[in-house]
Protein backbone atom coordinates (compact mmCIF):
# COMPACT_ATOMS: atom_id res chain seq x y z
CA UNK A 1 0.00 0.00 0.00
CA UNK A 2 1.37 3.37 -1.05
CA UNK A 3 0.34 6.76 0.22
CA UNK A 4 1.44 9.81 -1.73
CA UNK A 5 1.03 13.47 -0.94
CA UNK A 6 -2.12 12.84 1.11
CA UNK A 7 -3.75 16.06 2.31
CA UNK A 8 -6.89 16.94 4.23
CA UNK A 9 -8.00 20.40 5.27
CA UNK A 10 -10.72 21.50 7.64
CA UNK A 11 -11.73 25.12 7.03
CA UNK A 12 -8.47 25.78 5.24
CA UNK A 13 -6.29 24.40 8.04
CA UNK A 14 -4.37 21.33 6.98
CA UNK A 15 -4.85 18.49 9.47
CA UNK A 16 -2.99 16.11 7.25
CA UNK A 17 -0.29 17.75 5.20
CA UNK A 18 1.21 15.93 2.19
CA UNK A 19 1.87 12.60 3.86
CA UNK A 20 3.99 10.08 1.96
CA UNK A 21 4.19 6.53 3.26
CA UNK A 22 4.77 3.06 2.02
CA UNK A 23 3.17 0.41 4.20
CA UNK A 24 5.20 -2.80 4.29
CA UNK A 25 3.19 -5.97 3.79
CA UNK A 26 2.64 -8.58 6.48
CA UNK A 27 3.80 -6.36 9.34
CA UNK A 28 2.28 -4.53 12.29
CA UNK A 29 2.54 -0.79 11.81
CA UNK A 30 1.60 1.64 14.59
CA UNK A 31 0.68 5.27 14.10
CA UNK A 32 1.62 7.34 17.13
CA UNK A 33 1.74 11.03 17.91
CA UNK A 34 0.16 13.71 20.07
CA UNK A 35 -3.54 14.57 19.92
CA UNK A 36 -4.56 16.31 16.74
CA UNK A 37 -1.52 15.11 14.83
CA UNK A 38 -3.74 13.61 12.15
CA UNK A 39 -3.13 9.90 12.77
CA UNK A 40 -6.80 8.94 12.83
CA UNK A 41 -7.52 11.16 9.84
CA UNK A 42 -4.82 9.41 7.82
CA UNK A 43 -6.31 6.10 8.91
CA UNK A 44 -9.75 7.29 7.86
CA UNK A 45 -8.52 8.33 4.44
CA UNK A 46 -6.65 5.05 3.89
CA UNK A 47 -9.85 3.18 4.61
CA UNK A 48 -12.16 5.48 2.53
CA UNK A 49 -14.17 6.47 5.62
CA UNK A 50 -12.98 10.06 5.26
CA UNK A 51 -12.82 11.81 1.89
CA UNK A 52 -9.39 13.24 1.10
CA UNK A 53 -8.72 16.63 -0.42
CA UNK A 54 -5.78 15.61 -2.55
CA UNK A 55 -3.16 12.92 -2.88
CA UNK A 56 -3.23 9.26 -3.64
CA UNK A 57 -3.78 6.06 -1.70
CA UNK A 58 -2.74 3.20 -3.94
CA UNK A 59 -3.82 -0.23 -2.86
CA UNK A 60 -2.41 -3.14 -4.90
CA UNK A 61 -1.34 -0.57 -7.48
CA UNK A 62 -4.81 1.01 -7.89
CA UNK A 63 -6.13 4.12 -6.17
CA UNK A 64 -8.73 3.18 -3.55
CA UNK A 65 -11.24 5.55 -5.10
CA UNK A 66 -11.13 3.46 -8.26
CA UNK A 67 -11.71 0.22 -6.36
CA UNK A 68 -15.23 -1.09 -6.15
CA UNK A 69 -16.25 -0.64 -2.54
CA UNK A 70 -17.33 -4.26 -2.31
CA UNK A 71 -14.06 -5.60 -3.70
CA UNK A 72 -12.06 -3.37 -1.39
CA UNK A 73 -14.03 -4.67 1.58
CA UNK A 74 -12.70 -8.15 0.82
CA UNK A 75 -9.12 -6.89 1.07
CA UNK A 76 -9.23 -4.20 3.73
CA UNK A 77 -11.13 -4.00 7.00
CA UNK A 78 -11.34 -1.14 9.44
CA UNK A 79 -12.51 -0.99 13.01
CA UNK A 80 -13.15 2.47 14.42
CA UNK A 81 -13.68 3.56 18.00
CA UNK A 82 -17.35 4.41 17.62
CA UNK A 83 -19.35 1.24 17.46
CA UNK A 84 -22.66 2.00 19.06
CA UNK A 85 -24.79 -0.69 17.55
CA UNK A 86 -28.46 0.00 18.13
CA UNK A 87 -29.78 -3.37 17.16
CA UNK A 88 -30.23 -6.40 19.34
CA UNK A 89 -27.51 -8.57 17.86
CA UNK A 90 -25.91 -11.73 19.13
CA UNK A 91 -22.15 -12.19 18.88
CA UNK A 92 -22.61 -14.76 16.18
CA UNK A 93 -24.88 -12.49 14.15
CA UNK A 94 -22.33 -9.70 14.43
CA UNK A 95 -19.50 -11.94 13.28
CA UNK A 96 -21.69 -13.14 10.41
CA UNK A 97 -21.85 -9.57 9.12
CA UNK A 98 -18.17 -10.00 8.26
CA UNK A 99 -19.29 -12.23 5.39
CA UNK A 100 -21.56 -9.57 3.90
CA UNK A 101 -19.08 -8.51 1.17
CA UNK A 102 -18.96 -12.11 -0.05
CA UNK A 103 -22.48 -13.43 0.30
CA UNK A 104 -24.76 -10.51 1.13
CA UNK A 105 -27.46 -11.30 3.65
CA UNK A 106 -27.48 -15.04 3.06
CA UNK A 107 -24.54 -16.94 4.46
CA UNK A 108 -23.43 -20.11 2.71
CA UNK A 109 -22.16 -23.30 4.34
CA UNK A 110 -18.61 -22.13 3.73
CA UNK A 111 -19.39 -18.80 5.38
CA UNK A 112 -20.76 -20.58 8.42
CA UNK A 113 -17.47 -22.46 8.79
CA UNK A 114 -15.44 -19.26 8.52
CA UNK A 115 -17.71 -17.56 11.08
CA UNK A 116 -17.29 -20.50 13.45
CA UNK A 117 -13.50 -20.40 13.02
CA UNK A 118 -13.41 -16.67 13.71
CA UNK A 119 -15.46 -17.14 16.87
CA UNK A 120 -13.19 -19.97 17.98
CA UNK A 121 -10.08 -17.95 17.18
CA UNK A 122 -11.24 -15.17 19.48
CA UNK A 123 -12.36 -17.71 22.11
CA UNK A 124 -15.91 -16.47 22.03
CA UNK A 125 -17.70 -19.82 21.75
CA UNK A 126 -19.40 -19.55 25.12
CA UNK A 127 -20.64 -16.05 24.33
CA UNK A 128 -21.76 -16.62 20.77
CA UNK A 129 -25.48 -16.52 21.51
CA UNK A 130 -25.25 -13.61 23.94
CA UNK A 131 -26.39 -10.16 22.88
CA UNK A 132 -23.51 -7.74 22.37
CA UNK A 133 -25.02 -5.06 24.58
CA UNK A 134 -24.78 -7.54 27.45
CA UNK A 135 -21.03 -8.04 27.02
CA UNK A 136 -18.19 -6.23 28.76
CA UNK A 137 -16.04 -3.76 26.81
CA UNK A 138 -13.26 -6.28 26.32
CA UNK A 139 -15.59 -9.02 25.11
CA UNK A 140 -17.34 -6.65 22.72
CA UNK A 141 -14.00 -5.58 21.29
CA UNK A 142 -13.11 -9.24 20.76
CA UNK A 143 -16.43 -9.84 19.03
CA UNK A 144 -15.72 -6.95 16.67
CA UNK A 145 -12.25 -8.35 15.94
CA UNK A 146 -13.87 -11.73 15.23
CA UNK A 147 -16.07 -10.00 12.68
CA UNK A 148 -12.96 -8.50 11.06
CA UNK A 149 -11.39 -11.96 10.97
CA UNK A 150 -14.52 -13.34 9.30
CA UNK A 151 -14.22 -10.55 6.76
CA UNK A 152 -10.98 -12.31 5.77
CA UNK A 153 -8.97 -9.33 4.54
CA UNK A 154 -5.23 -8.99 4.00
CA UNK A 155 -5.20 -5.59 5.62
CA UNK A 156 -6.72 -4.73 8.99
CA UNK A 157 -6.93 -1.16 10.24
CA UNK A 158 -7.62 -0.58 13.92
CA UNK A 159 -8.30 2.89 15.28
CA UNK A 160 -7.26 2.97 18.95
CA UNK A 161 -8.24 -0.63 19.73
CA UNK A 162 -7.03 -0.33 23.33
CA UNK A 163 -9.15 2.69 24.12
CA UNK A 164 -11.39 2.25 27.18
CA UNK A 165 -9.86 -1.12 27.98
CA UNK A 166 -8.09 -1.90 31.25
CA UNK A 167 -4.47 -3.06 31.28
CA UNK A 168 -5.40 -6.72 31.14
CA UNK A 169 -7.77 -6.40 28.18
CA UNK A 170 -5.60 -3.86 26.40
CA UNK A 171 -2.56 -6.15 26.63
CA UNK A 172 -4.64 -9.07 25.42
CA UNK A 173 -5.83 -6.96 22.50
CA UNK A 174 -2.23 -6.23 21.53
CA UNK A 175 -1.34 -9.93 21.76
CA UNK A 176 -4.26 -10.67 19.46
CA UNK A 177 -2.97 -8.07 17.01
CA UNK A 178 0.44 -9.74 17.02
CA UNK A 179 -1.14 -13.16 16.44
CA UNK A 180 -3.25 -11.87 13.57
CA UNK A 181 -0.06 -10.77 11.89
CA UNK A 182 2.17 -13.75 12.77
CA UNK A 183 -0.37 -16.57 12.40
CA UNK A 184 -2.75 -15.27 9.76
CA UNK A 185 -0.24 -13.15 7.82
CA UNK A 186 -2.30 -9.97 7.94
CA UNK A 187 -0.92 -6.48 7.55
CA UNK A 188 -2.13 -4.47 10.52
CA UNK A 189 -2.16 -0.73 10.89
CA UNK A 190 -3.04 0.67 14.30
CA UNK A 191 -3.54 4.06 15.81
CA UNK A 192 -2.19 3.89 19.34
CA UNK A 193 -1.77 6.27 22.23
CA UNK A 194 0.37 4.03 24.39
CA UNK A 195 3.85 4.28 22.97
CA UNK A 196 5.03 1.18 24.80
CA UNK A 197 2.36 -1.02 23.26
CA UNK A 198 3.47 0.31 19.91
CA UNK A 199 7.08 -0.40 20.76
CA UNK A 200 6.53 -3.88 22.13
CA UNK A 201 4.03 -5.28 19.64
CA UNK A 202 4.68 -3.60 16.30
CA UNK A 203 7.33 -3.95 13.62
CA UNK A 204 7.22 -0.38 12.37
CA UNK A 205 6.21 2.90 13.93
CA UNK A 206 5.08 5.99 12.12
CA UNK A 207 5.07 9.12 14.25
CA UNK A 208 2.91 12.06 13.24
CA UNK A 209 3.28 15.67 14.31
CA UNK A 210 1.08 18.49 13.00
CA UNK A 211 -0.29 16.46 10.13
CA UNK A 212 3.12 15.45 8.85
CA UNK A 213 5.14 12.27 9.17
CA UNK A 214 7.81 13.14 11.74
CA UNK A 215 9.52 9.77 11.64
CA UNK A 216 8.82 6.45 10.01
CA UNK A 217 10.93 3.39 10.59
CA UNK A 218 11.45 0.20 12.55
CA UNK A 219 10.67 0.27 16.25
CA UNK A 220 14.37 0.64 17.14
CA UNK A 221 14.79 3.57 14.77
CA UNK A 222 11.84 5.52 16.14
CA UNK A 223 12.11 4.65 19.82
CA UNK A 224 15.02 6.90 20.66
CA UNK A 225 15.24 9.49 23.36
CA UNK A 226 15.76 12.33 20.89
CA UNK A 227 13.00 11.43 18.45
CA UNK A 228 10.35 10.86 21.11
CA UNK A 229 11.23 14.03 23.01
CA UNK A 230 10.94 15.98 19.80
CA UNK A 231 7.56 14.47 18.92
CA UNK A 232 5.88 14.72 22.30
CA UNK A 233 7.79 17.69 23.75
CA UNK A 234 8.38 15.89 27.06
CA UNK A 235 11.47 14.17 28.46
CA UNK A 236 11.96 10.50 27.73
CA UNK A 237 14.19 7.68 28.93
CA UNK A 238 14.52 4.50 26.91
CA UNK A 239 14.91 1.11 28.61
CA UNK A 240 15.38 -2.26 27.01
CA UNK A 241 13.20 -5.19 28.02
CA UNK A 242 13.20 -8.54 26.19
CA UNK A 243 15.33 -6.89 23.55
CA UNK A 244 12.70 -4.27 22.86
CA UNK A 245 12.95 -0.56 23.61
CA UNK A 246 10.42 0.73 26.11
CA UNK A 247 10.00 4.33 27.11
CA UNK A 248 9.50 6.15 30.36
CA UNK A 249 8.20 9.69 30.25
CA UNK A 250 7.81 12.22 32.99
Amino acid sequence: MQIKDLTKKYNGNPVVDSVDLEIPKGKVISFIGPNGAGKSTVMGMISRLIARDSGLVAFDGTDIEKWKSKELSKRLAILTQSNNIQMKLTVRELVAFGRFPYSGNRTTKEDEEIIQQAIAYMELEEFQDRFIDELSGGQRQRALIAMVIAQDTDYVLLDEPTNNLDIYHATNMMKIVRRLCDELGKTIILVLHEINYAAFYSDYICAFVDGKVAKFGTVKEVMTKETLSEIYKVDFEILEIEGKPLSIYY
Binding site: S73, N83, I85, Q86, M87, R92, G98, F100, P101, D129
Partner: protein, 325 residues
Amino acid sequence: MNKAVFQSNLTKMIILSILALSAAAAYMLIDVNFTNEKLFLYAMKIRTPKLIVMIITAFAIGGASIVFQSVINNRIVTPCLLGMNSLYTLIHTAVIFFAGSSSILAVNANLAFAADLIIMGVTATLIYSYFFKKTKHNVLYVLLIGTVLTSLFSSIQSTLTRVMDPNEYDNLLNTLVASFSNINTEIIIFSVIVLGAVIAFLGKDLSVLNVLTLGKNQAINLGVNYDRSVRRLLLGVTLFIAVATAMVGPISFLGLIIANLSRQLLKTYKHSFLMLGSALFGIIVLVGGQLIVEQIFTYSVPISVFITVGGGLYFLYLLLTRRSV
Protein backbone atom coordinates in the same frame (compact mmCIF):
# COMPACT_ATOMS: atom_id res chain seq x y z
CA MET B 1 -30.26 -15.42 13.43
CA ASN B 2 -30.12 -18.49 15.61
CA LYS B 3 -32.64 -21.22 15.06
CA ALA B 4 -34.79 -20.72 18.16
CA VAL B 5 -35.28 -17.01 17.44
CA PHE B 6 -35.97 -17.75 13.80
CA GLN B 7 -38.62 -20.31 14.71
CA SER B 8 -40.33 -18.03 17.21
CA ASN B 9 -40.30 -15.16 14.72
CA LEU B 10 -41.83 -17.42 12.11
CA THR B 11 -44.60 -18.35 14.55
CA LYS B 12 -45.18 -14.68 15.36
CA MET B 13 -45.38 -13.84 11.68
CA ILE B 14 -47.97 -16.56 11.12
CA ILE B 15 -50.05 -15.28 14.05
CA LEU B 16 -49.81 -11.73 12.69
CA SER B 17 -50.89 -12.91 9.25
CA ILE B 18 -53.85 -14.75 10.73
CA LEU B 19 -54.87 -11.67 12.70
CA ALA B 20 -54.55 -9.46 9.62
CA LEU B 21 -56.56 -11.93 7.57
CA SER B 22 -59.30 -12.21 10.16
CA ALA B 23 -59.47 -8.42 10.45
CA ALA B 24 -59.87 -8.25 6.69
CA ALA B 25 -62.49 -11.02 6.70
CA ALA B 26 -64.41 -9.36 9.53
CA TYR B 27 -64.30 -6.06 7.72
CA MET B 28 -65.66 -7.60 4.54
CA LEU B 29 -68.34 -9.79 6.08
CA ILE B 30 -69.75 -8.19 9.26
CA ASP B 31 -73.27 -6.91 8.84
CA VAL B 32 -73.55 -8.09 5.26
CA ASN B 33 -76.81 -9.41 3.92
CA PHE B 34 -76.05 -12.88 2.54
CA THR B 35 -79.60 -13.78 1.54
CA ASN B 36 -80.09 -11.07 -1.01
CA GLU B 37 -77.54 -11.47 -3.79
CA LYS B 38 -77.84 -7.89 -5.00
CA LEU B 39 -77.28 -6.42 -1.55
CA PHE B 40 -74.35 -8.76 -1.01
CA LEU B 41 -72.70 -7.71 -4.27
CA TYR B 42 -73.33 -4.07 -3.46
CA ALA B 43 -71.64 -4.40 -0.08
CA MET B 44 -68.68 -6.14 -1.67
CA LYS B 45 -68.42 -3.46 -4.30
CA ILE B 46 -68.24 -0.78 -1.62
CA ARG B 47 -65.92 -2.61 0.74
CA THR B 48 -63.40 -4.28 -1.60
CA PRO B 49 -61.69 -1.10 -2.86
CA LYS B 50 -61.49 0.27 0.69
CA LEU B 51 -59.85 -2.91 1.92
CA ILE B 52 -57.38 -2.86 -0.96
CA VAL B 53 -56.54 0.78 -0.25
CA MET B 54 -55.95 0.00 3.41
CA ILE B 55 -53.65 -2.90 2.54
CA ILE B 56 -51.64 -0.77 0.10
CA THR B 57 -51.39 2.03 2.67
CA ALA B 58 -50.24 -0.40 5.34
CA PHE B 59 -47.51 -1.80 3.09
CA ALA B 60 -46.35 1.63 1.91
CA ILE B 61 -46.23 3.24 5.34
CA GLY B 62 -45.06 0.15 7.20
CA GLY B 63 -42.18 -0.52 4.83
CA ALA B 64 -41.18 3.12 4.51
CA SER B 65 -41.14 3.68 8.27
CA ILE B 66 -38.82 0.76 8.96
CA VAL B 67 -36.47 1.86 6.19
CA PHE B 68 -36.54 5.46 7.39
CA GLN B 69 -35.73 4.48 10.98
CA SER B 70 -32.86 2.28 9.89
CA VAL B 71 -31.40 4.96 7.64
CA ILE B 72 -31.58 7.59 10.39
CA ASN B 73 -30.45 4.95 12.90
CA ASN B 74 -33.11 5.95 15.41
CA ARG B 75 -36.18 4.02 16.36
CA ILE B 76 -38.48 6.84 17.34
CA VAL B 77 -38.42 8.87 14.15
CA THR B 78 -41.42 8.75 11.88
CA PRO B 79 -41.56 9.62 8.19
CA CYS B 80 -43.98 12.35 9.31
CA LEU B 81 -40.79 14.35 9.78
CA LEU B 82 -40.26 14.43 6.03
CA GLY B 83 -43.02 17.04 5.78
CA MET B 84 -45.25 15.22 3.28
CA ASN B 85 -48.33 15.53 5.51
CA SER B 86 -48.14 19.28 5.74
CA LEU B 87 -47.30 19.58 2.05
CA TYR B 88 -50.46 17.61 1.26
CA THR B 89 -52.50 19.87 3.51
CA LEU B 90 -50.97 22.93 1.88
CA ILE B 91 -51.63 21.71 -1.66
CA HIS B 92 -55.29 21.06 -0.93
CA THR B 93 -55.76 24.34 0.87
CA ALA B 94 -54.10 26.23 -1.96
CA VAL B 95 -56.26 24.55 -4.58
CA ILE B 96 -59.47 25.48 -2.78
CA PHE B 97 -58.19 28.94 -1.93
CA PHE B 98 -57.09 29.89 -5.44
CA ALA B 99 -59.37 27.82 -7.64
CA GLY B 100 -62.38 27.26 -5.40
CA SER B 101 -64.01 24.05 -4.22
CA SER B 102 -65.88 23.61 -7.48
CA SER B 103 -62.76 23.74 -9.63
CA ILE B 104 -61.80 20.67 -11.59
CA LEU B 105 -58.67 20.13 -9.47
CA ALA B 106 -60.79 19.83 -6.34
CA VAL B 107 -63.65 17.84 -7.83
CA ASN B 108 -61.84 15.34 -10.05
CA ALA B 109 -60.23 12.76 -7.76
CA ASN B 110 -57.81 11.46 -10.37
CA LEU B 111 -56.55 14.91 -11.19
CA ALA B 112 -56.17 15.82 -7.52
CA PHE B 113 -54.24 12.60 -6.92
CA ALA B 114 -51.98 13.24 -9.89
CA ALA B 115 -51.33 16.82 -8.78
CA ASP B 116 -50.52 15.70 -5.21
CA LEU B 117 -48.20 13.00 -6.38
CA ILE B 118 -46.34 15.18 -8.87
CA ILE B 119 -45.83 18.05 -6.44
CA MET B 120 -44.78 15.76 -3.59
CA GLY B 121 -42.61 13.64 -5.87
CA VAL B 122 -40.78 16.65 -7.29
CA THR B 123 -40.32 18.22 -3.85
CA ALA B 124 -39.07 14.91 -2.47
CA THR B 125 -36.59 14.39 -5.28
CA LEU B 126 -35.35 17.93 -5.05
CA ILE B 127 -34.96 18.04 -1.29
CA TYR B 128 -34.01 14.56 -0.35
CA SER B 129 -31.61 13.84 -3.16
CA TYR B 130 -30.21 17.24 -4.07
CA PHE B 131 -29.95 18.88 -0.65
CA PHE B 132 -28.82 15.64 0.90
CA LYS B 133 -25.88 15.62 -1.49
CA LYS B 134 -25.20 19.30 -0.79
CA THR B 135 -25.08 18.78 2.97
CA LYS B 136 -22.43 16.06 2.54
CA HIS B 137 -24.86 13.26 3.31
CA ASN B 138 -25.57 14.12 6.88
CA VAL B 139 -28.84 12.42 7.79
CA LEU B 140 -29.48 14.86 10.62
CA TYR B 141 -29.87 17.61 8.04
CA VAL B 142 -32.65 15.59 6.49
CA LEU B 143 -34.56 15.72 9.76
CA LEU B 144 -33.82 19.40 10.13
CA ILE B 145 -34.92 20.23 6.60
CA GLY B 146 -38.07 18.17 7.09
CA THR B 147 -38.93 19.93 10.34
CA VAL B 148 -38.34 23.38 8.87
CA LEU B 149 -40.41 22.55 5.80
CA THR B 150 -43.22 21.21 7.95
CA SER B 151 -43.52 24.48 9.82
CA LEU B 152 -43.15 26.49 6.61
CA PHE B 153 -45.94 24.59 4.88
CA SER B 154 -48.21 24.70 7.93
CA SER B 155 -47.66 28.46 8.35
CA ILE B 156 -48.58 29.17 4.75
CA GLN B 157 -51.56 26.85 5.07
CA SER B 158 -52.89 28.51 8.23
CA THR B 159 -52.47 31.95 6.66
CA LEU B 160 -54.55 30.80 3.69
CA THR B 161 -57.29 29.35 5.85
CA ARG B 162 -57.55 32.56 7.87
CA VAL B 163 -58.53 34.59 4.84
CA MET B 164 -60.60 31.85 3.28
CA ASP B 165 -64.33 31.88 2.72
CA PRO B 166 -65.90 29.94 5.66
CA ASN B 167 -67.97 27.73 3.38
CA GLU B 168 -64.92 26.81 1.37
CA TYR B 169 -63.08 26.09 4.61
CA ASP B 170 -65.81 23.68 5.57
CA ASN B 171 -65.37 21.88 2.25
CA LEU B 172 -61.64 21.85 2.69
CA LEU B 173 -61.73 20.23 6.13
CA ASN B 174 -63.36 17.13 4.68
CA THR B 175 -60.43 16.52 2.35
CA LEU B 176 -57.81 17.05 5.06
CA VAL B 177 -58.88 14.02 7.06
CA ALA B 178 -57.46 10.66 6.11
CA SER B 179 -60.15 8.56 4.53
CA PHE B 180 -60.37 5.30 2.63
CA SER B 181 -63.68 6.02 0.97
CA ASN B 182 -64.16 7.23 -2.58
CA ILE B 183 -60.87 6.01 -3.94
CA ASN B 184 -61.40 4.79 -7.47
CA THR B 185 -59.79 1.93 -9.31
CA GLU B 186 -57.54 4.10 -11.47
CA ILE B 187 -55.89 5.62 -8.42
CA ILE B 188 -55.40 2.21 -6.84
CA ILE B 189 -53.81 0.78 -9.97
CA PHE B 190 -51.63 3.82 -10.45
CA SER B 191 -50.45 3.73 -6.82
CA VAL B 192 -49.48 0.09 -7.10
CA ILE B 193 -47.53 0.83 -10.28
CA VAL B 194 -45.65 3.71 -8.64
CA LEU B 195 -44.85 1.66 -5.53
CA GLY B 196 -43.68 -1.24 -7.68
CA ALA B 197 -41.50 1.09 -9.73
CA VAL B 198 -39.90 2.52 -6.58
CA ILE B 199 -39.13 -0.99 -5.29
CA ALA B 200 -37.62 -1.93 -8.65
CA PHE B 201 -35.59 1.30 -8.64
CA LEU B 202 -34.23 0.59 -5.14
CA GLY B 203 -33.54 -3.07 -5.87
CA LYS B 204 -30.12 -3.81 -4.41
CA ASP B 205 -30.22 -0.89 -1.99
CA LEU B 206 -32.79 -2.74 0.09
CA SER B 207 -30.31 -5.54 0.73
CA VAL B 208 -27.90 -3.21 2.56
CA LEU B 209 -30.49 -2.25 5.20
CA ASN B 210 -29.30 -4.88 7.68
CA VAL B 211 -25.74 -3.61 7.42
CA LEU B 212 -26.80 0.04 7.73
CA THR B 213 -27.97 -0.66 11.28
CA LEU B 214 -24.33 -1.27 12.25
CA GLY B 215 -23.65 2.41 11.62
CA LYS B 216 -22.04 4.39 8.81
CA ASN B 217 -18.43 3.32 9.38
CA GLN B 218 -19.20 -0.37 9.61
CA ALA B 219 -21.43 -0.17 6.54
CA ILE B 220 -18.65 1.40 4.49
CA ASN B 221 -16.16 -1.11 5.86
CA LEU B 222 -18.42 -3.91 4.64
CA GLY B 223 -18.44 -2.50 1.14
CA VAL B 224 -21.69 -0.55 1.12
CA ASN B 225 -21.71 2.53 -1.07
CA TYR B 226 -23.16 4.41 1.87
CA ASP B 227 -23.92 7.84 0.46
CA ARG B 228 -25.52 6.53 -2.67
CA SER B 229 -27.57 3.86 -0.90
CA VAL B 230 -28.82 6.20 1.79
CA ARG B 231 -29.75 8.86 -0.74
CA ARG B 232 -31.72 6.41 -2.85
CA LEU B 233 -33.39 4.83 0.19
CA LEU B 234 -34.47 8.21 1.52
CA LEU B 235 -35.89 9.12 -1.87
CA GLY B 236 -37.75 5.82 -1.94
CA VAL B 237 -39.15 6.40 1.54
CA THR B 238 -40.40 9.85 0.60
CA LEU B 239 -42.03 8.57 -2.57
CA PHE B 240 -43.72 5.74 -0.66
CA ILE B 241 -45.09 8.22 1.86
CA ALA B 242 -46.09 10.56 -0.95
CA VAL B 243 -48.11 7.81 -2.64
CA ALA B 244 -49.84 6.80 0.57
CA THR B 245 -50.60 10.39 1.52
CA ALA B 246 -51.84 11.34 -1.95
CA MET B 247 -54.11 8.33 -1.84
CA VAL B 248 -55.71 8.56 1.60
CA GLY B 249 -54.57 11.84 3.18
CA PRO B 250 -52.27 12.68 6.08
CA ILE B 251 -51.71 9.40 7.86
CA SER B 252 -47.96 8.78 8.03
CA PHE B 253 -47.93 9.09 11.84
CA LEU B 254 -49.22 5.55 11.69
CA GLY B 255 -45.68 4.56 10.69
CA LEU B 256 -44.30 5.24 14.14
CA ILE B 257 -46.76 2.85 15.75
CA ILE B 258 -46.56 -0.05 13.35
CA ALA B 259 -42.79 0.08 12.85
CA ASN B 260 -42.16 0.02 16.59
CA LEU B 261 -44.75 -2.67 17.26
CA SER B 262 -42.98 -4.76 14.66
CA ARG B 263 -39.52 -4.09 16.15
CA GLN B 264 -40.79 -4.81 19.64
CA LEU B 265 -42.46 -8.06 18.68
CA LEU B 266 -39.86 -9.50 16.34
CA LYS B 267 -36.61 -8.45 18.08
CA THR B 268 -34.48 -9.04 15.02
CA TYR B 269 -32.33 -6.92 12.77
CA LYS B 270 -33.53 -8.66 9.61
CA HIS B 271 -35.43 -6.16 7.55
CA SER B 272 -37.36 -8.69 5.53
CA PHE B 273 -39.06 -9.69 8.78
CA LEU B 274 -39.34 -6.19 10.19
CA MET B 275 -40.91 -4.70 7.07
CA LEU B 276 -43.40 -7.49 6.60
CA GLY B 277 -44.28 -7.39 10.29
CA SER B 278 -44.76 -3.65 10.13
CA ALA B 279 -47.03 -3.97 7.10
CA LEU B 280 -49.10 -6.67 8.80
CA PHE B 281 -49.47 -4.54 11.93
CA GLY B 282 -50.54 -1.73 9.60
CA ILE B 283 -53.29 -3.89 8.13
CA ILE B 284 -54.46 -4.92 11.59
CA VAL B 285 -54.53 -1.34 12.88
CA LEU B 286 -56.12 0.19 9.78
CA VAL B 287 -58.66 -2.50 9.01
CA GLY B 288 -59.50 -3.05 12.67
CA GLY B 289 -59.74 0.69 13.25
CA GLN B 290 -61.92 1.22 10.21
CA LEU B 291 -64.15 -1.63 11.37
CA ILE B 292 -64.67 0.14 14.69
CA VAL B 293 -65.23 3.48 12.97
CA GLU B 294 -67.86 2.04 10.66
CA GLN B 295 -69.65 -0.42 12.92
CA ILE B 296 -69.48 1.22 16.35
CA PHE B 297 -69.15 4.93 15.72
CA THR B 298 -71.04 4.84 12.41
CA TYR B 299 -68.55 7.21 10.79
CA SER B 300 -68.92 9.93 13.42
CA VAL B 301 -65.22 9.74 14.34
CA PRO B 302 -62.55 9.53 11.62
CA ILE B 303 -59.90 6.82 11.95
CA SER B 304 -57.07 9.34 12.13
CA VAL B 305 -58.35 10.39 15.54
CA PHE B 306 -57.72 6.89 16.85
CA ILE B 307 -54.34 6.73 15.15
CA THR B 308 -53.24 10.06 16.56
CA VAL B 309 -54.48 9.40 20.09
CA GLY B 310 -53.20 5.82 20.18
CA GLY B 311 -49.97 6.78 18.45
CA GLY B 312 -49.36 9.67 20.82
CA LEU B 313 -49.78 7.49 23.87
CA TYR B 314 -47.59 4.79 22.38
CA PHE B 315 -44.95 7.39 21.55
CA LEU B 316 -44.91 8.57 25.16
CA TYR B 317 -44.63 4.98 26.31
CA LEU B 318 -41.64 4.46 24.00
CA LEU B 319 -39.95 7.60 25.25
CA LEU B 320 -40.43 6.69 28.89
CA THR B 321 -39.51 3.01 28.74
CA ARG B 322 -36.47 3.08 26.48
CA ARG B 323 -33.24 3.76 28.31
CA SER B 324 -31.37 4.94 25.25
CA VAL B 325 -33.20 6.48 22.34
